[in-house]
Symmetry: C2
């Protein structure tokens, strides 16, 4: 039995106890939050080790920032765990059922998924977030973080394991894979006997590698080629304001937009207003011929590749379209199915866009940046699913559950 198989076995055993743990899960979560706050110094010195190694290996500033913990971020981790504890427990919720003509009483109830594997990169706060959400839904979790954060992750995981055990639940509810070589994630992807679902969190490369190689069922998250379509009669200021927000408030995240589609009848008015806002942040514009005819040669000519690219940067593609149908067609062809918005005053356009655009979140007159578990009222999220099976869009605790049928009879046979 390999180390990972042993972890899988321990996780299965822990998951069986968690399935019936009820309110003790919340006690364990509160204890975890408390322990993380008490362990601040310990966590900071573990994190300092990671940061030292990262600087020596020449990690860039953006990644260093993600890896860095400080007292504020540690308090945030604890607060995140408390907000998960405060949510209602999905386990045991009756979501359907009734009495059949033969007298069988059927209840369809929520149960935990079992054992969840999380493969992630260099953000140590994921260790606490993901563990808390999995635990709340009654699941054991096997965490496999990046090697850059191994010292921070190990420290946070050990603190949480101790707190769980003191709260009377199995410490193997949370386990961290010590081996951060590529082989350990490859082995996790084959561990169908022990892991019920794998959720990759991180960049496109990581996610695609897990989707393509895993035999354990995967929930695909996070890829977002998102669009705003400005309809013929949109409010010009609202359009410019939403495009500016959706592109620049945080360009590196999946719910930021990459392409704006503009109805030809409003292009001459809205494009200059939009450019004026985007220029505030020096956003690079790449446009179709009609866009360049209006905004001038400072706009770089857009290629086919631009429509398909998730820039995750201060770059935006702009296309003038003849009508809403062409906008919907463009989105169907290039979107990753994450989030799209229409800016319009037309009831008919709003109805058509929301009915025909097949993405996880479809907005009328609002920024795509709201696609987020917290913003949707889920309390916290484990990621944003861009697949159609099991869960789509932001995933909270409900999305970390399965269901079963309980049938009460009095001797019925068929």
């Amino acid at each position: 039995m390999t180390a990972l198989e042993q972890m899988g076995k321990n996780a299965k055993a822990a998951a069986r106890r968690l399935a019936a743990a009820g309110v003790r899960k919340d006690k364990a979560l509160l204890a975890m939050a408390q322990a993380i706050e008490s362990g601040e110094n310990e966590i900071l010195s573990a994190n300092a080790k990671d940061l030292k190694n990262a600087k020596e290996s020449g990690m860039n500033e953006a990644l260093l920032d993600r890896l860095t913990l400080n007292p504020g971020r540690i308090a945030g981790m604890a607060q995140g765990i408390r907000s998960v504890a405060a949510q209602s427990d999905p386990i045991g919720t009756v979501i359907g059922g009734g009495v059949r003509p033969n007298g069988l009483k059927i209840q369809h109830i929520r149960v935990p998924l079992g054992v969840i594997g999380i493969i992630y990169e260099a953000r140590p706060n994921v260790t606490a977030d993901a563990a808390a959400l999995c635990l709340k839904a009654g699941n054991a979790v096997i965490l496999r973080g990046g090697k850059e954060a191994i010292s921070s992750n190990t420290c946070v995981a050990e603190i949480m394991r101790t707190a769980i055990e003191q709260a009377g639940l199995p410490k193997d509810s949370i386990q961290l894979v010590a081996d951060t070589n590529r082989s350990s994630s490859v082995e996790m992807m084959q561990l169908t006997d022990y892991i019920d679902v794998l959720i990759p969190r991180g960049g496109k490369g990581l996610i695609q590698s897990v989707v393509q190689n895993s035999r354990v069922p995967v929930i695909e998250t996070g890829s977002g080629n998102c669009h705003v379509y400005v309809d013929a009669d949109a409010d010009i200021d609202m359009a410019a304001n939403i495009v500016f927000n959706a592109k620049t408030s945080r360009p590196s995240v999946c719910n930021a937009i990459e392409t704006v589609l503009v109805h030809k009848d409003i292009a001459e008015q809205v494009l200059p207003a939009m450019k004026a806002r985007l220029d505030e942040k020096q956003v690079e514009l790449r446009g179709c011929e009609r866009t360049r005819a209006i905004l001038g040669d400072s706009v770089i000519p857009a290629t086919e590749e631009d429509w398909a690219t998730e820039y995750l940067d201060y770059i935006i593609a702009i296309k003038v379209v003849d009508n809403i149908d062409d906008a919907i067609e463009h989105i169907a062809k290039y979107s990753s199915g994450h989030s799209e918005a229409i800016i319009t005053k037309s009831y008919e356009s709003a109805q058509k866009f929301t009915a025909q655009v097949d993405s996880a979140a479809v907005y009328v007159n609002a920024s795509t940046r709201f696609t987020d578990g917290g913003e949707f009222g889920m309390g916290a999220e484990i990621g944003i699913s861009t697949q159609k099976l099991h869960a789509r869009g932001p995933m909270g605790v409900n999305e970390l559950t399965s269901t079963k049928f309980i049938i009460n009879g009095s001797g019925q046979i068929r």
Copy 2:
């Protein structure tokens, strides 16, 4: 572009029209049912060709029976389609939502999955069943049946396609793969650009091959190593009756039981009563030592392998256990997570068993044979999921849907 890629492309286009087809889907379904009845002679002569080939290649009686169509079975296919049409349309159903503090109005609604692939074996009635369920939920379907039934399947599919087109919906809502070589199912399993989910229907070999090789997300169906546990104070007659029904009413199906677990305190009374019933159908008994001590040497000694085997035949394994915990432990170790039942008069045992047994359907005092979409009130089923992701247990039209969020705003930015 290969023939299958072209089919995938056609299916995607059809799926976009089906997503907004509303009540026209029901008109198309009723037209399909009518056309199948009118096409009886045509279908029977296509089926005769398949039967002739099958007999010449030496197909066994059981498989020949599955392949055979007759006027009654054709009427049954039409009736099945009508009962799917009569169900309520899941698409557009609002399953959650509300107003956020910033004024955003969120609706969480059901939408189709998109394009569903079905890989199945030699039962031509699946062609009609699966197509009707997928269409009802607004999905396009690509059917890939076994080579033994190709002539029947082609005939039924063409009749349905013509009927759909006459009802004003795209005929490519239903497509049948003409190539029945293994290579066509292998290609389907890689068609991630066009197929949203694959559902294999058939024997264990087929299902395992799809689960292991598919890059398209799969819903695993149909493997059932099911158990009845007879508790210390069970009603003897009820126990014998349910075990007899669950084993012998149709041993070849996934919701039939394979193993009986009996509490030691009731074994001396219940085992002879059970044996008397099972002897009526000459069921072969394979028991543990304690079972053999009670029932005698006519019971074959059970091995470790027996506990793990889905016989799908007139064979049953019997084990005497010390208590309910041992029964639950045995089920956790050997069950495929399909259906299990407890026979008991004890409130405490019923509560414990239904809470702790982690299977899709858990029964108290009823036969496991009820795990079925029709019996659960779903109208019809596409299969019985034995996985935990997306759907678990019998799958009806709701289980062939995904969801999306529609968000109505008034200029909100984040």
